[in-house]
Symmetry: C2
Subunit: 121 residues, 2 copies
DNA sequence: TATAGTGGTATACTTTAGTATAGCGCTATA
DNA sequence: TATAGCGCTATACTAAAGTATACCACTATA
């Protein structure tokens, strides 16, 4: 079966198998917290260096940026590449999974916009 | 322009306008926290009463369930109906927006399943 | 009368998330 | 020599999220 053509749906399932819960929780865990989305957003169009991301997200502290980037790396969303320059330069970019998150964000965007219409009718 | 046919996309936008950020943040805020998803999941197929939801989510305390349901109601995700029986019975159900969240969850499910394949290859 | 169920609230507490501030080794530029 | 930039880490703190426990008014059942 072609993976791309495979559709998962809660409505279709009419119930909530444990793998569904795990998968959705994975997705949520990847994007939760105050800074993960801004960081992913910052990397969505371009690979960037630590300080560039920091400049993109003015209020983030280096501690949080470092911490969140580490988590994103561990979770396979971000790839960290160290270049052997002097001093070292480090580049962060989204993995394939990270890029695919864009689709989830698009869906969230769509829902958010529709929902705003209802709430602020 | 037909709303249903309208597509929002970060890739297409090639940037991140403020309304996009707000809309995505709305979506995230609606589903964040430990219990919102289980609650929405519990209501996705059926309206339910307080105690039924509690039985669906064994580890939730009544305090949290009450708190989260209130937030979901304020955010227009859940509708609360009080029936004038003795003692009162209260029913919780998803609004249209709440139901539509199912599509977002489906997308998250899809991504989560794909991502798991990559991570646990 | 005692127990259980319904739909919660109140108070106090712990755990997790995020902030503030300082500093590290390195080097290029003024 | 002093300053600034790079890519962070350490320590200490505050704020937010979640937990534990007890309790409320009400009623039907044992």
């Amino acid at each position: 079966m072609n993976v791309k053509s495979m559709q998962f749906s809660f409505k279709k399932a009419k119930s909530c198998p444990i793998q569904f819960v795990l998968a959705v929780n994975d997705t949520l865990n990847v994007i939760n917290g105050k800074w993960k989305l801004p960081i992913i957003g910052s990397l969505l169009f371009d690979k960037k260096r630590f300080t560039e991301i920091q400049r993109n997200i003015p209020k983030i502290t280096p501690r949080m940026l470092s911490k969140e980037l580490k988590e994103l790396e561990i979770n396979g969303i971000v790839k960290r590449t160290v270049y052997d320059t002097i001093p070292v330069s480090v580049e962060y970019e989204l993995t394939k999974s990270g890029e695919n998150l864009g689709e989830v964000l698009d869906k969230m965007l769509e829902w958010g916009i529709e929902h705003r219409k209802v709430v602020f009718k």
